[in-house]
């Protein structure tokens, strides 16, 4: 089984996670830029984070046989902090980089005017850079937030095939399906979805435009939720091809619209000699296994 996790925050995860993910079949991930738990207070804090998403983390993942990509944006929560908003001026440079496969996560947190503004500006940037968009739907007031997001996207004139709406639940799936956008589900213990509910949604709506992710980060979360969902799908009567559609072909098709997806197989995790800026994850010698190749 091959797995593409289209939403996971590897910066917050350990090398043990990388090894377990590789063993479970994960060969490619997308890491969206998001809130760090601890609020940022300046633009430099964002750009250093972006640098690590296009540099060090991509390199680290490659050491474990996993292709790493990212989506970059000012997240909805921090769009409300005037100290953070000027990062939108630095964003265009970063949207041109290798490994950046979408603009995201954008969308709403508390549905403020500042969020409206950042959302609209970043949809515009996505059009300018010919990139798809990853939209976060709010944890609170989710149904209203999702509907409003769909309205904003429609008004911006973005083709729905280039938009992925994430963190969906039973209550938001129908509207997004109707819109023509791609549908993402975060299998995140307690607060978002779980594998049994996910399987039920797939049984009801089918596998078309459906993506499953772990959204694993610094909170209580599990990077193997994708594999767990796959197992449950098989138990529920889906065949291997259905599983491959949801866990590989759909995310590949969506993010390949960026033209920057790299799925060349890498050697698996092994004590190697690779280093990034001279720093080896494995504390080995030189000779980079180049994540950009």
């Amino acid at each position: 089984m091959r797995i593409f996790d289209p939403h996971i925050h590897m910066t917050s995860r350990t090398t043990n996670d990388y090894e377990a993910m590789y063993a479970a079949g994960v060969r490619a991930v997308v890491e969206p830029a998001f809130w760090l738990g601890q609020p940022r207070t300046c633009v430099g804090s964002f750009t250093d984070y972006f640098d690590s998403l296009i540099g060090w983390e991509r390199f680290r993942a490659a050491q474990f046989g996993i292709r790493h990509h990212c989506t970059l944006a000012l997240n909805p929560k921090e769009a409300n902090d005037p100290r953070c908003v000027p990062v939108l001026d630095a964003l265009p440079r970063y949207l041109a980089k290798d490994g950046v496969v979408a603009v995201g996560e954008v969308g709403y947190d508390s549905m403020t005017a500042a969020e409206d503004d950042a959302f609209a500006r970043q949809l515009q940037l996505a059009t300018e850079h010919d990139l798809p968009v990853l939209v976060h739907t709010p944890h609170r007031d989710k149904v209203a937030g999702t509907t409003r997001s769909l309205d904003v996207i429609r008004e911006a004139g973005l083709p729905p095939t280039r938009v992925l709406i994430d963190h969906l639940t039973e209550l938001t799936v129908a509207a997004v399906r109707e819109s023509g956008c791609w549908m993402g589900y975060s299998l995140y213990p307690d607060t978002k979805m779980d594998p049994p509910r996910m399987t039920k949604i797939l049984l009801e709506y089918g596998t078309e435009r459906m993506l499953v992710n772990s959204a694993a980060d610094w909170g209580r979360s599990d990077p193997l939720m994708t594999a767990a969902t796959a197992r449950l799908m098989l138990e529920a009567g889906f065949d291997a091809s259905d599983v491959d559609t949801v866990l590989w072909r759909n995310p590949v098709e969506f993010y390949a619209q960026s033209g920057r997806l790299n799925l060349e197989p890498l050697p698996g995790p092994e004590p190697g000699g690779a280093s990034f800026a001279g720093n080896s994850v494995l504390r080995g010698t030189r000779d980079a296994r180049d994540a950009t190749k």
Partner: protein, 413 residues
């Protein structure tokens, strides 16, 4: 004739094969390596004067084949004796020379030409002529790689196709030359000179064959990645801020990997394909924008972009207060590709002696080949030798091998 050429907008290269010209019985004789080589020197000096009058791009010449029964060492000595006189005339007249590696000759491959040039003390006037068909016939690397390796030394290019191992000038498509890749390489290195189709045996059908050649060239030039690069350069000239989006895209568009894969697999000495493309994008920036744009491009660049900026520094030659902070930043990293790129010609020319010594020691320490360090022969001093000696002792004390480059630094001053 010079005014007629200029009126028609034609550039010209003076070729010096001289078939049956100096000797009516023996083709191309005498050569620089045969008996009577002084007559060839005299002939070349005359060609240089003609080239000066014409405003020619260069005088192109070959070494000659080793005459039967001649000692190869003698041939080499003759070249070393003969060429300074030719070079002297070329310097006096301001005419570049293009030494052409020729299948079957004493100087047969690019490496032979580069070695001879080194033996002569790398005179600036002595450039290289490359026939891309010859590259297919006798070189290990493909023509595109040879062109990139010749790089700045290139003064004249001859275009034709050839099968591997056979010296036979053919029309495009009738041999094994990758024409789009060859043209892309010329674009990448920013070759400014003449690239002319050389089909000496096809004069009987010249108009037809010239038309076919032109069509083949246009078709090849229209294919990526040369087309992307050319377009990108134009975009940057029109709107310099576009470099911020185009510089990161270079690797995706033109490809990656060492310019010289057989000798320099990691591109530490000669750089990579994308480095060369990025240098071209940076050259398209108006000089007035460099002071603000370069530091920003470096700051916001990923590792590959940073390397591209560093490798372009000698060419762009920004003021030291702009260029040196970038070099110093790269030398603080432990990324061997950045360290190697930082220790090139720009650091060789501008970096203070203390930082430069530490840069060299770092190269030895992390395994960047000394060949990547510009001007080390002239800049190595007693203090650096002391540092390297201490380092070597440390290696021995720890039971580790002393890097060969450490020995070269100690002995090779």
């Amino acid at each position: 004739m010079a005014s007629r050429l200029s009126a028609l907008g034609l550039a010209v290269v003076v070729e010096t094969g001289a078939r049956y010209l100096l000797d009516p019985w023996t083709k191309h004789h005498p050569t620089l390596v045969s008996d009577g080589w002084l007559r060839r020197v005299d002939f070349l000096r005359r060609a240089i004067r003609v080239a000066a009058d014409l405003g020619a791009e260069c005088v192109s010449f070959f070494s000659g084949a080793l005459p039967p029964g001649t000692d190869p060492e003698l041939a080499r000595t003759r070249l070393i004796d003969a060429l300074p006189q030719v070079i002297e005339e070329a310097v006096a007249r301001g005419v570049p020379l293009g030494l052409e590696p020729e299948p079957g000759h004493v100087v047969e491959r690019l490496d032979d030409a580069l070695a001879l040039r080194a033996a002569l003390g790398e005179p600036e006037t002595l450039g290289i002529t490359l026939d891309v068909g010859h590259c297919v016939a006798v070189e290990t690397d493909d023509a595109a790689t040879c062109l990139r390796r010749a790089g700045k030394l290139l003064v004249n290019v001859q275009l034709d196709d050839m099968p591997r191992g056979v010296h036979e000038h053919r029309e495009f498509g009738e041999g094994e030359l990758d024409l789009p890749a060859t043209l892309a390489a010329l674009a990448e290195i920013g070759y400014p000179g003449l690239a002319s189709v050389e089909l000496p045996r096809h004069s009987h059908a010249a108009p037809l064959i010239a038309r076919r050649a032109l069509t083949a060239l246009q078709r090849a030039a229209a294919t990526a990645p040369a087309a992307w690069l050319e377009l990108a350069v134009k975009e940057i000239r029109a709107d310099p801020a576009r470099v911020r989006a185009l510089l990161p895209a270079a690797g995706r568009e033109v490809g990656r990997g060492s310019l010289c894969p057989s000798r320099d697999p990691q591109g530490l000495v000669h750089g990579t394909v994308e480095d060369a493309a990025r240098a071209q994008l940076l050259r398209a920036l108006p000089p007035g924008t460099l002071a603000t744009e370069l530091p920003e491009l470096y700051r916001y660049g990923d590792d590959a972009e940073k390397r591209g900026v560093l490798r372009a520094l000698p060419d762009l030659d920004p003021a030291p207060e702009i260029g040196l902070p970038l070099i110093q930043d790269a030398l603080r990293t432990n990324d061997i590709r950045l360290v190697a790129a930082a220790m090139g010609e720009y650091a060789g020319a501008h970096l203070d002696q203390h930082s430069w010594r530490h840069g060299v020691l770092k190269c030895v320490f992390v395994g960047v080949p000394l060949a990547a360090v510009a001007r080390w022969r002239e800049r190595v001093d007693a203090e650096l030798r002391r540092m390297v000696t201490d380092y070597a002792e440390e290696c021995r004390a720890a039971g580790r091998e002393v890097a060969p480059d450490a020995h070269r630094l100690l002995g090779g001053a």
